[in-house]
Symmetry: C2
Subunit: 156 residues, 2 copies
């Protein structure tokens, strides 16, 4: 993917998230983009993102689902409001609950493709589902409930 | 806590897990210990384990629950079999599903205490529940379903 990712539109002071903050040099710095109605993220785990030999750590998978789904909800909210990302007011979602089903071990050493879509957006809450695939094979699924961050959690 | 943690009993080739492997220099290296029927893990997030300013990243929380619950299931299996950890045959659990409820934002800059207990162990599967607290206040809960790792995932 090229162009600006969802994460590139957030203001600097909110860009230190370990999962998706572009300014967190220790973090995963995942990037999410629209692909039709879905949002897609491609991530290349590092060799040290290991569980048992040869396979990706499940906590990393949960982390990618978490951030990708939060950012997808944000992008979807802007889209629903007919606004470009980066315009005011800022819309940031935080995770209320995260569920991951690990369907099969995820092989280490290849890109992972995570696709998410917003199933429902109601009031301050959104339900997002996602899948993670390696070489075209689905390895994990996630359901994430996210809520719009209250203003006091987003200091300027 | 002092003495050997659950994770210290696994053989070297299985000690590279990003969450709990003692030989993964990039990883979290969490440590789990018995405290009666519960297993407890205390973790100090690094400043870069951040979400929004002042709060801990949710993916880190999911990761700690994941590893702490898997290792607790392993320790419980040894205990149920009346064997010391580290004796053969090796018992390793992998995550089948992970559910996390984020009850309130988790403050950054203090130790987090994660307590887990095995609710049910049946055949190759175990159900583990856990809580995460900061300064005595419960901030997150988790339900984790784990399964005994098949032999082909644990090369010697």
């Amino acid at each position: 993917m090229s162009g600006k990712a969802f994460q590139d539109y957030f203001p600097d002071h909110l860009c230190h998230c370990y999962g998706c903050g572009r300014l967190n040099e220790h973090g995963l710095q995942i990037k999410s983009y629209w692909d039709g109605q879905d949002a897609v993220c491609t991530f290349n785990p590092k060799p040290y993102h290991i569980a048992v030999p040869g396979y990706v750590y499940g906590g990393l998978i949960a982390s990618i689902f978490d951030c990708h789904c939060c950012c997808t909800a944000s992008a979807a909210a802007y889209r629903a409001e007919g606004r470009a990302m980066g315009t005011e007011p800022l819309v940031v979602f935080l995770t209320a609950s995260l569920h991951v089903d690990y369907l099969r071990p995820v092989p280490l050493g290849m890109p992972l493709v995570i696709r998410a879509s917003v199933n429902e957006m109601k009031g301050r809450k959104a339900m997002v589902t996602a899948t993670l695939s390696a070489e075209g094979e689905e390895c994990a699924r996630s359901n994430v409930v996210v809520v719009r961050a209250p203003q006091h959690l987003m200091p300027r």
